[in-house]
Subunit: 479 residues, 2 copies
């Protein structure tokens, strides 16, 4: 197998195929099948995200997958940004034309907000927080790649309405906390929160805020974005509320989109190693595998023991008992390590004599023998610390992969050695775009944005324009 | 409000609008929005169904929403049955044609089985049991109606492959048990399992088996179907396995489709009453509502008490505390009864003095006062018996609505008084179709099929053809 540190892209491609997460042989370009092992985990990811959103007073909706063409033309920036990527449903049955073309939703602002115009009446209805879990469709012209760029991807989109900008920006904060709570703490993925440059924001937004991770080979990978939409969509779709004085006001809208299939790919890319996948404990399709070590004449005793343990642990965890007799224990160890099961329990006749069990943990790739009576306690301890071990390992690489640079030469050098950089830059407003283009042309790297914590402006000059720098920006190549 | 017993259709339409389950003002015909209260319940329905399927060794997949046109043409019966109903994606971006037309899946046999041809290699891979949860799309030409007939509906589809017909038919049995386990026992809906006549089976199937309920106004409502597909799809998509001797064999396929949005509508129709919705306990969006009865000067004491109870019960149940001060307790009672919350707890200052709480239960629409110390025990008792009370009430109407008839005149009379019938009929094979057409023309009723338990053939003559009757069939109007 390809080594991760030698060629991460090839390693990723081989790994997702070898572990049967995905099948890219479906006969429509850019559409893949998320297979069993992956699908079980995706469903857990959805459940965790939804329960956090529910706790924060969002409510679910199921919106139609199609959006009439006319809806797109209501918000000028949005139509410009999205129309080139839309799949259109135009016919039904035997070549009969539909009365109006229908878009397969590439995102659902233009479906939600016409309904918000009917549902939101007064300030009492605000904040109005809703979400939908599902797939969206974009005709990607770049090379597609399972999980990271496809024409159909799984995500959640929230759409929220507020009285004013202040309340809307508080929602942006809450969305970032949600990202941290789920993507960092449950999925173990460290992220940087960045405000995107004006030329790289969501079509129709005032501002876009992203949560980017950095892969071990020094590339940015976007895991979620949240957008402050101001009142432009509210104006286009007539989303108004009556205030305490009976006066009509436009609502301020935000939307948040954590990508579920993309985050799954991120988890594979960030936590995987040269043995295979490593799943964060809570979203592992199976959390524990039990492998009996069968030796002739003692099979019965060992099988009884593993079945007892299987039964006991199954009350709390998702457990597999791999008692297949066609494979050796060594083959099973190799297989389940590759599949990323967090904990393996091994038991042979000698272990039973010694009242011990072997425990292999995939976060540290280490094995120890413990007394069988300590099993439940040990498992519960490993379960608790598993994901934070993955996270700590990821954070180390993440931090090491950001370097400070002060000029173009240092930037190029950093990119060559697979790093992303933090550098002084003149402006992330419209007037900075040409310097961003210059950097892109010279190095292939993009300006990903500025960090959201307040920083004092740099004293240095912009690395691209030579003008006074307004911010430190993050620059790098991306997936 | 319209009374259920006077005009069930109108009652249903009013109820789903009044309770904001659905919004049918979305600007694409036949596509509706499932709103918050409904969406919360739909998610629970999915979770329950999926956990039962998982326990029976099905595994989840996420398949693409689009299916290339060529796939449809592989199975002749299937293309004939489904093409008229397909929505076609033909363009992308600015009027650019796709290389091949893509169907929005109306059902996914033609997507799954080409992959099964790659995934299934030998008898060791069988049985092969997979499912997908999601939406499907059909260009319905009949009048659409929220939940019961739409152009987009939510369902689960399982697709299973077996060595032979025997194993496949055992799966059909398992599917019917699953229907009973979930639809009858958890959703409280009584069903009849019927084998559909040959002229009314799934396009491409050998046989179709349905689980039909009967509404209080005497109409059939299909809740789930399972199909034995034989080997025709396996042949069309090359789904083969090598047996123990290395010989290639065609797999026998089955598929099962419980409709989630349709079942939701069925639950509304069957359990709802003139006060509003009644949710089965496990799938209620909220299971308990607490209403404080606030009397001037004693607000603080009452609010403290209801908050304590809210906190305690929230550990086990999904609870709302309705402490809105703009509405009277009476308005709240009316509202939450309409919304179908199973249990209401009322507490006023006098109740606190008497150490009592009021409990209203929506299954029996009855109220009692109990000692506060018995609250947890009482709630847990009501929770346990709630759904079976709904089921028993439904079963009574269900059984009363089936009548035996022996001739056409009795059939017509039964239909006029809103019943469905059981009657001797010549044949549900192709040769019976013309007599079914005759009945349909005369009465508007359809032959829904024969019951699956073995019965001795009737001694009477067929009510339509006058020939010897082969079976008792169920006949009625349907949704």
């Amino acid at each position: 197998m390809q080594k991760k540190e030698e060629n991460m892209n090839e390693w990723f491609n081989e790994l997702i195929r070898e572990t049967e997460l995905v099948d890219d042989r479906y006969n429509v370009k850019g559409f893949v099948i998320y297979r069993e092992w992956c699908a079980m985990s995706l469903k857990k990811m959805y459940n965790i995200f939804e329960s956090v959103l529910n706790k924060k007073n969002h409510m679910p909706l199921f919106m139609p997958v199609v959006i009439p063409e006319q809806n797109f033309y209501k918000e000028a920036e949005h139509v410009k940004g999205f129309t080139p990527e839309v799949f259109w449903v135009t016919e039904h049955g035997d070549k009969e034309k539909l009365e109006e073309k229908l878009a397969l939703r590439p995102t659902s602002e233009t479906a939600f907000y016409q309904m918000y115009s009917l549902w939101i009446r007064s300030y009492n209805d605000l904040p109005y927080k809703r979400y939908q879990s599902g797939s969206v469709y974009r005709y990607e012209t770049k090379a597609t790649r399972p999980f990271l760029r496809g024409r159909e991807f799984l995500w959640i989109e929230t759409h929220c309405a507020f009285r004013d900008e202040k309340a809307a920006l508080e929602q942006i904060q809450e969305d970032m906390e949600t990202t941290k709570e789920v993507i960092t703490n449950v999925f173990g993925i460290p992220v940087l929160f960045l405000q995107r440059p004006q030329w790289d924001k969501f079509a129709g937004a005032v501002n876009t805020y992203a949560a980017d991770t950095i892969t071990q080979n020094g590339k940015f990978l976007q895991t979620a974005t949240t957008h402050y939409l101001g009142t432009s969509f509210a104006k286009a779709f007539d989303v108004k509320y009556k205030d305490e004085n009976g006066k009509d006001n436009l609502a301020h809208l935000t939307c948040y989109g954590p990508g579920i299939s993309r985050e799954f790919g991120t988890i594979v890319a960030i936590h995987g190693d040269n043995k295979g996948l490593r799943f964060p404990f809570e979203i592992a399709p199976k959390q524990i595998v039990i492998v009996p070590v069968l030796i002739k004449g003692k099979e019965k005793e060992v099988l009884k023991k593993v079945k007892d343990i299987y039964k006991k642990l199954s009350k709390t965890y998702e457990v597999i008992l791999d008692d297949n007799t066609q494979k050796t224990p060594g083959e099973k160890f190799y297989f389940w390590e590759m599949k990323g099961v967090p904990i393996r329990i091994e038991i042979g006749p000698r272990d039973i004599e010694n009242k011990k069990v072997g425990i292999f943990r995939r976060d540290l790739n280490s094995k120890e023998f413990i007394l069988e009576k300590d099993l439940t306690k040990t498992i519960s301890k490993i379960a608790k610390e598993f994901t934070s071990n993955l996270k700590n390992q990821a954070e180390k690489a993440f931090t090491e992969n950001i370097v400070e640079v002060k000029d173009m030469k240092a930037l190029e050098k950093a990119l060559e050695s697979n790093k992303v950089v933090r550098a002084p830059f003149c402006s992330i407003d419209k007037d900075g775009e040409k310097y961003a283009d210059m950097i892109k042309e010279k190095t292939g790297a993009e300006i990903k944005g500025i960090i959201l914590t307040k920083e004092t402006a740099p004293k240095e000059l912009c690395i691209a324009s030579g003008k006074p720098a307004k911010h430190y920006v993050y620059i790098g190549r991306g997936y």
